[in-house]
């Protein structure tokens, strides 16, 4: 609880005491700078046990100029097409009102969808591509063509086989159809069927859920856990249960929509801090404690910090040790959303908490999803037993939403047992190691080739910057011609000048598949002129590995 008097009196004395004890002062911060012993190449030497390297290189200025030029031309032609549509020179393909309704208040806001109508439609064939196999390291794609420039599609009936999958969040490779692997899932399917037909609080709690929750708690090293049927709903339905009016939410700039929705639904005051920026967060915390609530100046009932483990659009990892030290200093709560990082980082796949070598008691609410690394669906919230018991009674999801279905729960159980090694093999650990190797190899090769890549060196999410709107469509189409499926992201999800292609490395990718993708990227990078990096390393990395002191720009 943020109690001003405790901070002013008790904490200041506590802070002063720690200053004298530099050796143990890993947590002590003064003006945002840690006074710890600095080790070679590691800043914040006592907080971070290994190098924390993140890249967010800026492209040369001419790239931004060309990007705006491209958008400008697109906008002009958008206005032209809209004019033609309004004056009947061209057929209208979007929704319009009937003739009788023309005098009423307009139902469809024409200008709001300007971007969708005029720019997105032109390259729409790169999204929503239907696949017809399991999204493993390779998948089968249904071929579709368009006759009227992407307004409608039709399927030719042909199936493109074995497209290399660089877009699925299949980090540990558990999206598989191998009969031996799915044996227990088949048994549970035959025992329980597929439907639950009830909510958790009525008749929807099965023994499978209890088993799964105990397993999740053991996996994470916490007291208790609760699972929900849908990952998005875990965030949006449980944050309102934890905070309400009179509380303060400090949320990262680039948080996922589920966190933003949950925060807005709760009715608490929301303040945004710059992405992964500890100084910005500390300033907000200090202001919150000093000034209290906006009009009444009372202390905030609760201050909660919402962060994610790995941010899926940037590939950056949260600065957890510093945030935990801040939260302890200012007595705030921490809600960590490990949707992409559980199973994907950490020596044994236990997420960012293990990656930084911290204890799970440091984080108040651990949240994660089973969609990404475990090949299933659903989410969990874990932490102290009091917290989880509270959520069992007060969460909207527990009261109203259907619970997870048993075969999916069994898939999570078998995947988690595999990762923990409880099934008697070392397959889980091998998968985690393979993912780490693949990630490092892929990122290193892309850096060497000269592309601009965002994010931490250890994160399996690799965004490759494309910048110009024309290149988004060209990139995705040409990669598909080479039989590689990628996900490209443009304006509303990313800033307007920074459109990107996002690769998700998987433990199921073999070295040959990654080499195929890298060679294709090399060729395409030369053809489309995407290699903007000014810091590309040579192709002899062994000369650089040992002596690298990371200076980040």
């Amino acid at each position: 609880m943020a109690n001003p008097s405790a901070v002013c009196n008790g904490h200041l004395h506590h802070h002063h005491q720690k200053q004298n004890n530099l050796l143990k002062s890993g947590i002590c911060k003064k003006n945002g700078i840690t006074k710890g012993i600095k080790k070679n190449g590691i800043s914040n030497g006592t907080l971070y046990k290994k190098k924390f390297v993140e890249h967010f290189e800026q492209a040369p200025m001419y790239v931004a100029v060309f990007t705006f030029l491209g958008f400008g031309v697109g906008t002009i032609f958008g206005y032209l097409r809209d004019f033609m549509r309004a004056w009947g020179l061209e057929k209208r393909n979007v929704a319009t009102e009937r003739e009788q309704q023309k005098d009423f208040v307009p139902l469809y806001q024409d200008f709001e969808n300007f971007y969708t109508r005029n720019l997105y439609m032109r390259i729409r064939d790169n999204w929503n591509r239907p696949i017809c196999s399991v999204p493993g390291p390779q998948f089968d794609l249904m071929e579709r063509v368009t006759d009227d420039y992407n307004w409608t599609f039709r399927f030719t009936g042909r199936i493109i086989k074995n497209v290399i999958n660089m877009g699925s969040y299949n980090y540990l490779g558990f999206a598989e159809t191998d009969v031996n692997a799915l044996k227990t899932v088949t048994i549970e399917l035959q025992k329980y069927g597929t439907g639950i037909c009830s909510t958790r609080q009525e008749m929807g709690t099965l023994d499978k859920h209890v088993e799964l929750e105990k397993l999740v708690a053991t996996f994470l090293g916490v007291e208790d856990a609760m699972v929900f049927g849908m990952g998005f709903a875990t965030n949006s339905m449980n944050i309102p249960a934890l905070v309400g009016k009179g509380c303060l939410i400090l949320s990262d700039e680039l948080n996922h929509t589920s966190l933003v929705l949950g925060a807005r639904l709760s009715g608490a005051t929301i303040r945004i801090f710059k992405h992964n920026n500890i100084q910005s967060l500390e300033k907000l915390l200090r202001d919150a404690i000093i000034y209290g609530q906006p009009r009444s100046r009372r202390a905030w009932r609760k201050i909660i910090i919402l962060v994610e483990g790995i941010y899926s659009m940037e590939g950056s990892i949260v600065r957890l040790p510093e945030i935990v030290s801040l939260k302890k200093k200012y007595k705030a709560y921490l809600y960590l959303d490990e949707a992409h990082s559980i199973g994907a980082v950490g020596a044994t796949g236990r997420g960012v908490v293990e990656y930084f070598g911290m204890s799970p008691d440091d984080v108040d609410v651990l949240m994660g999803t089973f969609t990404k690394s475990f090949g299933a669906a659903g989410g969990y919230i874990a932490g102290k037993k009091d917290l989880v018991d509270f959520l069992r009674t007060h969460s909207h999801s527990a009261v109203y939403a259907t619970s997870m279905c048993p075969p999916v729960a069994e898939q999570i159980i078998r995947a988690m047992k595999c990762v923990m090694g409880l099934d008697g093999t070392t397959q889980g650990l091998q998968r985690v190691r393979q993912l780490g190797k693949n990630t490092r190899y892929f990122r290193r090769r892309l850096h060497e080739m000269g592309f601009i890549i965002y994010g931490n060196d250890d994160s399996p999410v690799v965004p490759l910057l494309l910048y110009m709107p024309g290149k988004i469509g060209a990139f995705a189409r040409r990669m598909l011609e080479k039989n590689i499926g990628v996900v490209v992201v443009g304006f509303p999800a990313t800033p307007i000048t920074e459109s990107r292609a996002r690769f998700c490395v998987s433990a199921a990718h073999t070295r040959e598949m990654l080499d195929t993708v890298l060679n294709a990227l090399d060729e395409l990078g030369d053809f489309l002129h995407l290699k903007y990096s000014r810091y590309s390393k040579s192709s002899h990395p062994e000369l650089y590995e040992e002596t690298r002191l990371e200076l980040e720009d």
Partner: protein
């Protein structure tokens, strides 16, 4: 060989132009409109340059010559 690599290079430049100005995304009639507009603008600029630049340069040259000529006379008179 040189001609072939030159042609490839020009084709690559043309592709870059298409990508940067988003004309890669346009339908054929839009491309026609866009290129017509661009080429018309370019031709007009070149024509204007051809007509007027030579006149401007010769006028400027004369002006500077006059300036230097005057100065030369002035210095000569002072020395004397």
């Amino acid at each position: 060989m040189d001609i072939k690599s030159m042609k490839n290079y020009l084709y690559w430049l043309y592709c870059q132009f298409e990508l940067i100005t988003c004309s890669y995304l346009m339908e054929p009639w839009e491309k026609l409109l866009f290129y017509t507009f661009n080429i018309t603008m370019l031709v007009m600029v070149l024509y204007t340059a051809y007509i007027f630049v030579s006149v401007h340069i010769s006028t400027a040259f004369q002006f500077f010559l006059h300036l230097f000529g005057n100065q030369h006379e002035n210095t000569v008179s002072v020395v004397k």
